[in-house]
């Protein structure tokens, strides 16, 4: 058989070689790229020792093989395989076969037989295992072919009796991945002596090697994943595996039990050593709970994770997981949680603890106590107390999932979650706070619990505090004392960490709107009003007072009786806050203030409309009045810009829109101003100095256009075209100015050329938008294009000048949503007078903490710039992990910037700011362009347009005082 095979292989191989020869004779050009198969063959024949051959194979494996030559290579390898005596070379060949059959586009049908045949005479276990692995790869590529799969599975079954664990391992893996899943196929196959895969795999659950046992369980899980319904009979086997000596086996067994419990939740299993029976899912739950106190933490993590997804479990089983059945000296003892609850319900508040307060109460019947086999008892108590934080996190996650599906469980697990707020690892604390937030719909916090929760507000980690604010946003509090407590603690938080201001206000906003009735009785106290006396008016700029007002106003929204309790200044403050912090203060119907709110209907939309209207009106005005005298235009533009900027400050929702248009108008204004310059009418050489203004304007317009294009999210192609148009105008201006100030024509040639190319690419890019641009600069320019191309530079400049002056300015359509990317550096604050001292030549780390809003892909675009007093600038790319995403459109950058410098004589300030990097390659215009245009213009796009990179500073610069000291000798 083998001899025959060899012959056949050799035949086919020679065919390949002949083709090579043909190639050689006919197409000489191909010679430079000889096929890999030929090269390999030559190499392998040259190899004198196995080590040599191995080297050749290793080299060969480094380069990819073209699809066409894969089969040839495989044949050569196989031929060599049969000749080779050294096991390591055969091993390498076997692994190469696997690699080759992975080549995309190659269908390994043709080599299946050969690959299977190689198995027959192989003695080395390692090589066998590798060959089976290759077969697995082949099988995975041919999943559509059931007969091949059946053959492979048969082969695997045959080798299951091998004495090496590696081979059995691979066999099981293969069966798991390729074994028949559909019932029909299995029946057909029975005639071909194919057996029940599940049984074959199940037999290996008791293999002597733990690795094989693991592989068997994994194969079973694989079958499950592929859609085979596992038999319930495996359950008992799997349960036995839970007591295995090896952690991988236990870990896999836990998974298997979980799978089975999901498949047969309702079937009944007997409890050993008693006549009772319980549901399978409960039994499995108990068993997995048991594994939470396993010796290996890997298993514990696994078990704790899986517990979370067993939602069908009966509630009394579930609740047991939180009850450890405390006792002391054989007497029943209550947990601290129970005591706290009792203390709370008895109305006593924080009495000093007495010695023996936790003394145990009733006696326990010794017979009834069951220390180990109590199944689910206290599983979560153990899990949450575990040594490894991985286990604790898994337990918290599981708690979260179970609590989401069972409100009563949520109520019970609250105490434990609250306890986790004190964990030593921040990650765990954060996770438990998030968990609590997720289940907060199901729960109401008791006062003592709230107390513990609020204690965490003093945590020095900002993440924790913010998570806690989020949590408070959606918690239910049961009493007015609770609200008061929360407010007091939040205010304490505010004084301790003033940077939390926004987050705390937001938190109070929700707290107020959720509990209007609880806030109502607190109002007089909170506003410190007095029935008889006038109290002094509080300071309006005090963040704490604002916080209180935010709480009250939000509560008043759904509590119409509340405003009656306000004093005069409260109304005034309302009006002020409604304007300045409109996102925090809701519109109220105030009795005495009809004039303020009554003219428009009380819906929210009405408040947005006027400002929106105003925005549109002012723009309308500008666009309509463009034919006034230049002086008028300038003034109007100036006013409008001022109005828009003011509007942006007042109305945060419209800030993006207003700023965007203001910038555009600013560009227009600059352009008009530049064109008004006297220099145009005077002979060039005389006004060399004054043209500084015009060139500066051109430069500024360019900058502003980049800002418009890249700093706003939501910009659409209709805006992009206008921006590009503006940029084109700026470039034209630049060209004209240069033409007027430079002598000689030579440099102008290049510039004109470039400019014309840009006009050309503009036309290509925005061809669909051109019809909308009647009468614009570019429109006119394109009309004149034929003339421009042929004329001299001086001519071109002249034409440009006139068109520029004659062109109308374009109407900028506004998109629905426009947001400006902003950044705010929270830390360093820039207020410190103490210089940061470090030895020169060494490095000092500066913590930078900033919030970013509306930045798309911050990981790629946001950079930190450090500017030293000597003008040296340094740009730092923060790590992707430094960015967090607390909400949609919001990002937070927490990073460290390393500073270093040579020694200074005295401390000096450096500037730190954030930059937004842009690259016109990534520009939204090109991405959003219609497909045909894109493909056409792709090749023709000039390089200059293709790769403009730059940065826009988009945060205020913060000054940091540093002092590099000279190194001590």
């Amino acid at each position: 058989m083998a001899a025959h095979l060899k012959k056949r292989v050799y035949e086919e191989f020679t065919k390949v070689v002949q083709q090579q020869h043909e190639d050689l004779s006919t197409k000489k050009l191909r010679l430079t790229k000889p096929s890999k198969s030929a090269a390999l063959h030559v190499d392998l024949c040259k190899a004198t020792s196995p080590a040599d051959a191995l080297q050749y194979l290793l080299q060969f494996a480094r380069k990819p093989v073209e699809v066409e030559s894969v089969e040839g290579v495989v044949r050569i390898l196989l031929e060599h395989y049969y000749k080779e005596n050294d096991a390591s070379v055969r091993l390498k060949i076997a692994s190469l076969l696997g690699l080759l059959s992975k080549t995309p586009g190659f269908s390994p049908d043709c080599i299946v037989d050969d690959a299977i045949n190689t198995l027959q005479n192989e003695k080395s276990h390692q090589v066998l295992a590798q060959l089976l692995d290759t077969l697995l790869v082949i099988g995975m590529k041919l999943t559509e072919n059931p007969s091949v799969r059946m053959r492979l599975v048969d082969v695997a079954c045959k080798h299951l009796t091998d004495s090496s664990h590696g081979v059995r391992n691979k066999c099981l893996q293969l069966i798991g991945c390729l074994g028949p899943v559909e019932k029909g196929v299995a029946k057909e196959a029975e005639s071909q002596a194919a057996k029940d895969v599940q049984k074959i795999i199940g037999d290996h659950f008791n293999d002597q090697d733990p690795r094989v046992r693991t592989a068997a369980i994994k194969a079973m899980l694989q079958l499950h994943e592929r859609g085979l319904k596992l038999q319930q009979a495996i359950y008992n086997q799997a349960c036995k595996l839970l007591a295995d000596d090896y952690e991988q086996v236990r870990s896999a067994a836990v998974q298997l039990i979980w799978v089975l419990s999901q498949l047969y939740p309702e079937s009944i299993v007997p409890i050993p050593s008693s006549n009772e029976e319980i549901r399978l899912v409960d039994d499995a739950f108990g068993k997995i709970c048991h594994m939470v106190s396993d010796g290996s933490w890997v298993v514990r993590v696994q078990a704790a994770k899986l517990l979370g997804s067993m939602q069908q479990v009966s509630s009394h089983f579930l609740e047991q997981t939180l009850d450890k059945k405390l006792m002391s000296d054989l007497r029943r003892k209550r947990t601290a949680h129970e005591r706290a609850k009792e203390l709370y319900s008895s109305g006593e508040f924080s009495s000093g603890r007495k010695w023996g307060d936790d003394a145990p109460k009733e006696e326990i019947d010794t017979g009834a106590v069951n220390l180990i086999e109590s199944g689910a008892c206290g599983a979560f108590v153990h899990g949450l107390e575990d040594e490894m934080y991985e286990v604790r996190i898994a337990a918290v996650e599981a708690l979260c999932m179970l609590a989401q599906s069972s409100p009563s469980f949520a109520e019970k697990c609250l105490d434990f979650l609250v306890d986790m707020f004190n964990d030593e690892i921040e990650e765990v604390r954060l996770q438990s706070i998030h968990t609590m937030r997720k289940i907060s719909n199901n729960i109401t916090l008791r006062e003592d619990q709230l107390d513990t929760v609020l204690a965490v507000l003093e945590d020095s980690s900002r993440d924790i505090r913010e998570a806690l604010h989020e949590l408070l946003c959606c918690t239910n509090v049961s009493t007015k004392e609770g609200i008061h407590l929360a407010l007091v603690e939040l205010l304490k938080n505010l004084t301790k960490y003033p940077t939390d201001r926004e987050s705390i206000w937001k938190c109070l906003k929700f707290l107020g709107s959720r509990h209007p009735t609880l806030v109502l009785p607190l109002v007089p106290e909170l506003l410190s009003t007095h029935p008889f006396f006038d109290t002094p008016e509080p300071d309006m700029d005090d963040p704490a007072y604002i916080a209180v007002l935010v709480l009250i106003f939000n509560a008043a929204k759904s509590c119409p009786t509340m405003p009656a309790l306000f004093s005069d200044h409260t109304f005034r403050h309302y009006a002020y806050l409604r304007d300045s912090l409109s996102h925090l203060v809701p519109p109220l119907r105030l009795p005495g203030r009809k004039l303020v709110s009554s003219p428009v209907s009380p819906s929210i939309a009405s408040h947005e409309d006027p400002s929106q209207q105003f925005l549109h009106q002012s723009l309308e005005r500008v666009y309509n009045l463009q034919h006034l005298d230049p002086q008028g235009i300038q003034e109007l533009l100036e006013f409008t810009i001022r109005d828009l900027q003011r509007l942006g400050e007042l109305q945060s929702e419209l800030a993006g829109m207003a700023d965007f248009t203001a910038t555009y108008l600013q560009c227009q204004l600059l352009l008009i101003k530049a064109l008004q310059e006297k220099l145009w009418s005077v002979a060039a050489p005389l006004y060399l100095k004054q043209n500084a203004l015009a060139s500066a304007a051109a430069k500024q317009i360019l900058e502003e256009t980049y800002k418009m294009e890249f700093m706003y999210s939501g910009v659409e192609s209709s805006q992009v075209v206008i921006i590009h148009h503006m940029r084109l105008q700026a470039k034209a201006l630049q060209l004209i100015v240069t033409a007027r100030t430079t002598r000689g024509v030579e440099p102008l040639f290049g510039m004109c050329e470039k400019f014309l190319q840009e006009v050309d690419s503009f036309q290509r890019c925005f061809i669909s938008e051109l019809p909308h641009m009647q009468g614009s600069f570019v429109d006119k320019l394109l009309d004149l294009m034929p003339r421009l191309v042929t004329s001299k530079p001086s001519e071109v400049v002249k034409i440009l000048q006139t068109t520029l002056r004659q062109s109308t300015f374009l109407h900028l359509p506004l998109p629905e949503q426009l947001h400006k990317a902003t950044a705010n550096i929270i830390e360093p604050t820039g207020e410190s007078d103490n210089p940061l001292r470090f030895t020169s030549g060494l490095v000092v780390a500066l913590d930078v903490d900033a919030t970013l809003e509306h930045v798309q892909d911050p990981q790629g675009t946001v950079k930190v710039q450090v500017l030293y007093p000597d003008g040296q600038a340094q740009i730092i790319h923060p790590k992707p992990a430094d960015f967090r995403n607390p909400g949609p459109g919001r990002h937070r950058l927490i990073t460290q910037v390393y500073l270093s410098h040579t020694a200074w004589t005295e401390p000096c300030q450096i500037e730190v700011r954030l930059l937004l990097a842009y690259n016109s390659n990534r520009s939204k215009a090109s991405a959003k362009m219609p497909k045909p245009t894109w493909s056409e213009s792709l090749e023709a796009l000039p390089q200059s347009e293709n790769g403009i990179e730059g940065t826009i500073p988009f945060s205020k610069a913060v000054k940091v005082y540093i002092m590099p000291k000279p190194a001590r000798r």
């Binding site: 010796g295 601290a336 010695w355 307060d357 220390l371 575990d386």
Partner: protein
Amino acid sequence: MPEIKVTPLGAGQDVGRSCILVSIAGKNVMLDCGMHMGYNDDRRFPDFSYITQNGRLTDFLDCVIISHFHLDHCGALPYFSEMVGYDGPIYMTHPTKAICPILLEDYRKITVDKKGEINFFTSQMIKDCMKKVVAVHLHQTVQVDEELEIKAYYAGHVLGAAMFQIKVGCESVVYTGDYNMTPDRHLGAAWIDKCRPDLLITESTYATTIRDSKRCRERDFLKKVHETVERGGKVLIPVFALGRAQELCILLETFWERMNLKAPIYFSTGLTEKANHYYKLFITWTNQKIRKTFVQRNMFEFKHIKAFDRAFADNPGPMVVFATPGMLHAGQSLQIFKKWAGNEKNMVIMPGYCVQGTVGHKILSGQRKLEMEGRQILEVKMQVEYMSFSAHADAKGIMQLIRQAEPRSVLLVHGEAKKMEFLKQKIEQEFHVNCYMPANGETTTVFTNPSIPVDISLGLLKRETAIGLLPDVKKPQLMHGTLIMKDNSFRLVSPEQALKELGLAEHQLRFTCRVHLQDARKEHETVLRVYNHLKGVLKDYSVQHLPDGSITVESILIQATAHSEDQGTKVLLVSWTYQDEELGSYLTSLLKKGLPSSTA
């Protein structure tokens, strides 16, 4: 039958003075060598005369193992080694070796300098004793001599506490010392692999208790301290220098760090500083958090906790002070207590149990007016809190450890008899293993069933496994071979090799049996009938009809002859070798039943 004998010299149905003698496979090991806190006479040390009346202990003991540095586990060590006389090896972990002499010296000072006892061990003796100590690492197998080996496992409880496995050949004992199955702020939980010892000797201090989650207690403690400090009050925490004190320090330190608190925390100096130094060094013995973060900052390098000076007690403003001793009976803690007791803003937190008669016990039981020396009446206005932080495994923890180690029997020490009784019953009921609880001086004998290793030649093993189906670990398997016992070793070899080695010729043993068969036919017809019958019954065997008129089934020969007297009876001669005994006897019984008539 081999046996393991265990005799507690201390800690048998008692807490304190841990000292357990174990003899296992001819080796004698002493586990722990502690003193008893409750006695000041001879009873405070174990009675070493039990081991030998005269002669040095070295001759009777192979080694001594100390589980951790608490005095009730190591307090008698210098007395034992220097005064009674023992020169053999003493094993303990590195942290125990480092901290143990500090505590012994402290103990010596109190007994000799303060109480004025004579005939007590000296500083030099402590030093000499420590020279005999061999330090071991966790999970390191130490070969005490050729047969005896010991291995340490992590036990939690205090820094450096370990459980020890003592192993001779296949027999083994695990001694837990004191251990803790729940991690705390500075130490991890005890862990042991499935080592399946013959005997597990475990402590049972909290045999009848199932403890609440630690987190509640911690949270309570922190809240109390935080509230008092915020009010501007002072907090006094009386502690013993080692163990819990470090846990509480870590707890407060991290809390201060987290909450950004500024109030000072002081630790009254003394031996604590030295001990803290060792805590810093032995980071690998602490819990996950400390181990993982020590690269940035060693948690025991306290930022907020500073050394205490007497003068600080009068400073205004809030502060937290840890002071020794823990029961407020003397020393610095009592001095500070007197100063602060009058102010209701202050607080004292007792983190442990207090012996009757101490100030600590009085205030815990609610006494508000204390009579001090010199007839002074001290009115206690400060708040008094009790927090229990214990580092022993509770009943569940003990069961969990037993489950992890899967011992064949369990022995309880270090606990009260009544409580042990309960736990014993539970262990027997739930694990179905024997459980013992000897009193001091009482010997418990545990019979073991050690497996005896036998060498087998690879050829034989392969041959035998090839015959059977898949090898199954859990089931015994039959195999043919010859056991050779020679020079204290056992070997299983194939019979041929055994014969060769012994220089013996092979003898063949053949069984022959005659079966009478009632059949009137001719001989060869009978033979044919028999052949057909056998062929029908023994489908899986090769049954052959030889030309000479005999039948072979595998190697069994059957011949038929007519009976010399009765021609109607045929005699079947069945002959088989010893190796085919099974088949041969089956065949005879088959033939004895006669041939089925249907073939006739």
